[in-house]
């Protein structure tokens, strides 16, 4: 099954939470920190792309594994 690796550069992350709004199936709050799934199914590619674009500090990277 095609999958996508997700990585958030936590040194850049400023906890704006825009990724959580754009892709709640991938990103969520864990207390007051950010938590996310990796890898994610290819069906979530659009939502992940939204999240990558909406991050004000461009902290999110994705890479197809298959």
């Amino acid at each position: 099954m095609a999958e996508i690796e997700v990585e958030v550069d936590l040194a850049l992350c400023e906890l704006h939470g825009q990724c959580i709004i754009a892709a709640p199936d991938i990103f969520r709050w864990a207390g007051d920190e950010l938590s996310y799934d990796t890898p994610v199914a290819a069906e979530l590619a659009d939502a992940l792309e939204d999240a990558v674009d909406v991050c004000p500090v461009q902290a999110i990277h994705s890479r197809r594994t298959q």
Partner: protein
């Protein structure tokens, strides 16, 4: 002939329109025209870490990377360093300084430029802060002991004050409102933030009008003149008094350009299916606020309106999804000043009540939250140093409360 979409404006909105077009499967030519020579870059750091790192005596910080990652970059024809001077929407033509380009579809994303004080005088000492070049020029003038006068106590003016203060400058901020960030910050919270600035040594001259600028013939040092007769000497004067939409190039097309470019709910312009606008220049009906026309200069809004605009264009052989269009467009912004993390959601322009609901506005560093209401409906929230997840919960409340409002018949709904 290959279908061509021309996007005028190469910042966040422009490039996100380009990405959105390719995401729809658009196979035509995408041409992005930008008046700056730089490849697309982020503006928020220009008043903060980029300015600080660019100051000549600051050897500690490395310059932050500003470049915007553009997914579709390889399939874009880039025309940078070219300014649009005119446009004929009917003929499908954009005029640049050196050429004219024909388009089948057009996206207007020319943003805004800084509003200027309308006086002559002291030009060599006057600065603005919108572009990377502005930031570099300003940074080179900020040294320990530099007397900086910031005209405008909005978010940019306040961020600039904080950055300059940390560079060792002597900072005075002038504004005609009686508190900083008057447009978008709950009054008590604004007063609390002002007090933090003042505790660091920033001076505020509020409720004051600038009536002129002079410069000493010999030294070139500038003096800003206030309506009450006060004269403030400064080595550097930054005009941070707001923005003017870049719409002059659209004159002659029968558009209402009185405050940006008016669009419909899919960002379409002038009733045309092949022209859209996005970003700071776009004035669109916000369904979240009963369809009131809003022109929002927040970073997140640029991307959101761009995604919507990319779907709004009528294009051959390109599908689309209604997902983006259906999503509520909630204005959201942030501002970092000293160790204060300010976050805002919603729009408080029509609020009748703005109340502090958590924390103490006199101690914003310890966390304070305020909410704005319009006839009992929550319309905006603003937090300083509160838990990260909290403002997003208020965002959801604002969306939910609009759902209730929309169900009630009323004018404009």
């Amino acid at each position: 002939m290959t279908h061509r979409t021309v996007i005028v404006g190469a910042s966040v909105a422009g490039v996100r329109v380009a990405d959105g077009l390719r995401r729809r499967g658009y196979r035509g030519q995408v041409m992005v025209v930008g008046d700056e020579v730089h490849k697309p870059y982020q503006r928020p750091p220009l008043s903060k870490e980029f300015l600080a790192a660019s100051a000549p005596h600051n050897n500690e910080s490395t310059l932050p990377e500003l470049a915007i990652r553009v997914r579709s970059t390889d399939s874009i024809t880039w025309l940078l360093g070219e300014r649009a001077t005119g446009c004929d929407l009917g003929a499908g033509r954009v005029l640049l300084e050196t050429a004219s380009i024909e388009f089948d579809a057009l996206a207007i994303a020319t943003g805004v430029r800084p509003r200027r004080l309308q006086f002559r005088g002291g030009e060599a000492r006057r600065y603005v802060l919108r572009t990377k070049d502005d930031a570099a020029r300003l940074a080179s003038a900020l040294r320990p002991g530099t007397r900086l006068l910031v005209a405008g106590a909005g978010f940019i003016g306040c961020e600039l004050a904080a950055t300059a203060l940390r560079l060792g400058c002597d900072v005075t901020v002038v504004d005609l409102n009686d508190r900083p960030m008057a447009g978008s910050c709950q009054p008590e919270v604004a007063a609390g933030v002002q007090a933090i600035h003042e505790s660091h040594g920033v001076r505020f001259k509020l409720g004051r009008t600038i009536v002129g600028i002079e410069s000493d013939a010999r030294s070139g040092v500038a003096a800003v003149l206030l309506a009450d007769g006060e004269r403030l000497e400064a080595d550097v004067v930054v005009e941070a008094i707001g923005s003017v939409p870049n719409v002059e190039w659209l004159d002659g097309n029968g558009l209402d350009l009185s405050d940006g470019v008016i669009c419909d709910s899919m960002m379409r312009v002038g009733g045309r299916q092949n022209v859209v606008a996005a970003g700071d220049v776009a004035r669109f009906p916000n369904a979240l606020y009963c369809g009131s026309l809003q022109r929002i200069e927040h970073w997140t809004t640029a991307g959101e309106t761009a995604s919507r605009a990319a779907l709004g264009l009528d294009l051959p052989d390109a599908g689309g999804t209604d997902q983006q269009a259906a999503r509520a467009l909630v204005p959201s912004f942030w501002s970092d000043q000293y160790d204060l993390k300010i976050k805002g959601v919603g729009w408080s322009g029509a609020a009748d009540t703005w109340s502090v609901i958590e924390g103490d506005p006199e101690r914003p560093a310890d966390g304070v939250l305020a909410a704005a209401f319009e006839q009992g409906r929550i319309v905006a929230a603003l937090s300083v140093n509160r838990p990260a997840s909290e403002v997003l919960r208020y965002r959801t409340e604002i969306i939910d409360s609009a759902g209730l409002a929309a169900a009630t018949p009323g004018p404009g709904s």
